[in-house]
Each structure stands twice: as C-alpha cells, then as structure tokens.
Point group: C2
Chain length 245, copies 2
C-alpha cells in the first residue's frame, strides 16, 4: 500500500472550502478525491492538513492518500493536471512513510493575508487581495499583534461552538510587511481554530483603523468570549502558505 503526499495550489473563490463533509461537491477535497478515484479505480479518501474556510486560497496545501495504484508520480501528476478544474493544481507528489498523516503530523501552519491599501483597487488582483482605502496604521497593527503572540486561550478568536475542545493555541509569530501600499500579514501557529486566522486579521485591521486599542485587544483576549468582538476578515485575501511537519 502506497502513501502519497500531495502539495496542492488552489484558488478557493468558487469553493465552500476544503472539507467535503458538510458541503459535498463544491469543495476542493471532493474534486480531488473524485479524480483520484477515477484514476486508481479505488475509492480514495484524501486526508487534508486541515479545513480552510469558503473562499480561502492555498499556495501549498498538504494532503495524503493511500492507494494500491502503481502509476509513476509523473503520470499521476499529469493525470490530475489534465482532469482537475483549472483552479486546482497538484504541484508535487511523493511517496512517504505509511504512517505519515497530513493532519496529525502537522506541527504548525503558516497563513498569509494580503491587503491592498491604495486609494483605488487594482483590477488584476481584485479577486485575490482585500482592498480598503481606509489608511491602515501599521505601527498600531504590529502593537496589537504583539499581544496575541504566544500561548493563549483563543476562545474570543474562534466561531467554534463546542465547549469540550481545547481552544488553547500557540501563535508563533505575526509578521506585517508593507511595500507600495500592499500589506502582507504572515501568521504562524501550531494550529488554528475555526475562523481564527480571519478573526485575528479582522481584529488587527480594526486596530489599524484606530477602532480598537491595545487595551481593547487585551480585554478581548482575556474575556474568552467570541460574542460582540472583532469582525471576520473577507476570505479572498487569505492563503494557506505552508505546513510544517
């Protein structure tokens, strides 16, 4: 039995996210399982590194699947490239140890959020970068980010409903870079709760607009309640960039 690891790039605009469990055919997982099952003649189950929200993109999403199929890696890559929709590309594939598990073995994940802060939107990136002409104060955003870095209970930063699961995560870093009014926020954590990246970004955007102070953000973190806090950022600016194993 082979265990194959895939690196996947996708434009999430048309999809309801990675996971098929709830949304079926309009998910990236469904599209890939469907083509892999046709290719192998088996009922392939793909294990993804995690969920991504509707509309979120991926530069290097990691997933794995088990198969008896004996085709070469290149043949499989070419098959997937030909039959997957044009907004999903399996860029790389490799045989890995039978125990490799894309979700359980992930040590941390890196997301990037892109913001166009010019007066007018750029027509060529309008579907892939969040545009706002409200001038963002990067210094305030960085101060706000500092508060969130480290190991915290992120209950105020998730829409996860369950009370039984731990909402403690370690946010390793948030880097905020700016060039020509294009802002990139890179976030790395050992795991992200439901909507957590977008809520953190939404909160930092409020800080950048002067609507939330560092004191407000400290309070939000301390109160451990999602209700009434920071808005959720639009998904079109968000990319799963890398997964660390």
């Amino acid at each position: 039995m082979r265990n194959l690891k895939m690196t996947i790039q996708y434009d999430g605009s048309r999809y309801k996210g990675w996971q098929k469990q709830k949304y079926g055919e309009s998910t990236i997982q469904y599209k890939i399982e469907n083509i892999l099952s046709k290719m192998t003649g088996e009922n392939i189950q793909v294990i993804g590194c995690g969920r991504t929200d509707a509309g979120v993109h991926a530069e290097n999403y990691i997933a794995n699947f088990h198969t008896e199929c004996e085709l070469t890696i290149n043949t499989m890559l070419d098959y997937l490239y030909e039959f997957l929709p044009e907004d999903i590309v399996v860029k790389e594939m490799e045989d890995v140890h039978e125990r490799f598990h894309a979700r359980y073995n992930a040590k941390s994940k890196t997301y990037v959020y892109r913001i166009d802060n010019n007066k007018f939107r750029d027509v060529f990136t309008r579907k892939y970068i969040y545009h706002t002409d409200e001038q963002l104060n990067l210094k305030e955003m960085k101060k706000a980010a500092e508060i969130l870095i480290g190991t915290h209970d992120f209950k105020s930063f998730t829409n996860l409903k369950s009370n039984n699961k731990s909402t403690i995560r370690t946010l390793n870093y948030i880097n905020i870079l700016e060039k020509d009014n294009i802002i990139e926020m890179e976030l790395n954590a050992n795991g992200f709760l439901l909507n957590m990246v977008r809520i953190i970004v939404g909160t930092l955007l409020e800080a950048g607009k002067g609507k939330l102070s560092t004191v407000d953000i400290q309070k939000i973190l301390r109160e451990k309640k999602r209700e009434e806090y920071g808005p959720i950022a639009y998904s079109k600016g968000l990319y799963l960039k890398n997964v660390q194993y």
Copy 2:
C-alpha cells in the same frame, strides 16, 4: 470647455476591446462614455489612444474627453470609481491643453506580454498570463526579436485588410526578461497595426519553440504577406503598459 486626460487600468477579459464602434456595449470605451455622460449630463465622446483587441488588458491606457462639467478631479474620480464595473478603474485624471488628443499626439506605445513557462499553470495568474509548458529558448527569441527591431513594412505582421494605409512602423525595442520561469516581453513602437503585437509575440514564441528560425523570420518580414505566417498569441497575456507623448 475643459479637456480631461484619463489614465485607465482595465482587465480586458470580459470585453471585446476598447473601441465601441463595432462592438457597442461590450467595450471599455462604451462603459466609460456611459458613466461620464451620466455624470456630466452631456453626450461625452471619449478619444482613446488606440484600439486594443478583445481580451487585452491595460495598465495605463490614455484617453481624453471634452466637457463643460465643473466638478473637481477628485469628485469625478470617485464617481467613476463607484459606478464603473469593477474591472475598469480610472486611476488618474488631469486638465490638459485644449488641443491634446490621446491618439494623434501619442509618440509611441509600450506593450507587455507575460508568459508562464513553468510545467504547471499558476492558479492565481491563470487568467492574466499565457501559460505554456513547452520550454522556450530565450536566446532564439532574442535573436528573432533583433530582426524585427527598426523601421520596417510590417504587412506580414498585421491582419489589417486595407491596402491604402501605410503598414510601415518603427519598432524601437523588444526587451525579453525572465525570472522564475515567468517571461516578460516588452515592446515599444511608434504605432502598432491591427493585431501586430500579438502576431509579433506569436512569431517570437514559435522561434522560442524552435519552429521558426531567424532565416524564416527574415523571409516573413521581407515577403510582406500575412497569409500562412506566425500564429497570433492569446490576448490574455497582453497589456498596454504605457503611452508616450
């Protein structure tokens, strides 16, 4: 009477090109004239710097129009930004001399053609960059480009049917740059004939693929016949970058 010069960015994917004369409502000119006419209450005629083919994009298209409207530049820019479709943005506007004419006064134009030469397409640029996995030989493309630079009769490089108009143009330069398998070809000429940029690019791509030699290209140029020669490159990779006055 004011004469206003506009710098326009557009994603040409949905349009049949700039000029409304033949294609009416699905042109960029129509969309802009329509909004300007609503804004001013006048029947505005926009003078563009030239035609662009269906599907071709623009980073800095130049156009001008005359009006009695007394609104400020910023008010007009905001109005256009709000009411134009999201794939057309008037980035800048300025009052210019009454005799300024976007087409007649243009001394030269610069176009850029972008090619993704990686094995697999990039999902985020798939609508804006032409992808080919056939390995392109840049040295051969540059040698072919050298032949076309200068003042020539470009009759073999246009689909213009008229026999009465001059097909002599001066191609000032073709720069071919490559980074991470993304190739940019920048072309500057005192004017481009119908489809000329795309036919030149299509011809250079054939040279890059080893299908046309420098001898072939010299012959094509010399014969001054469009029939049977170089294919026309896909429009989605082409951008009008700048106009020089």
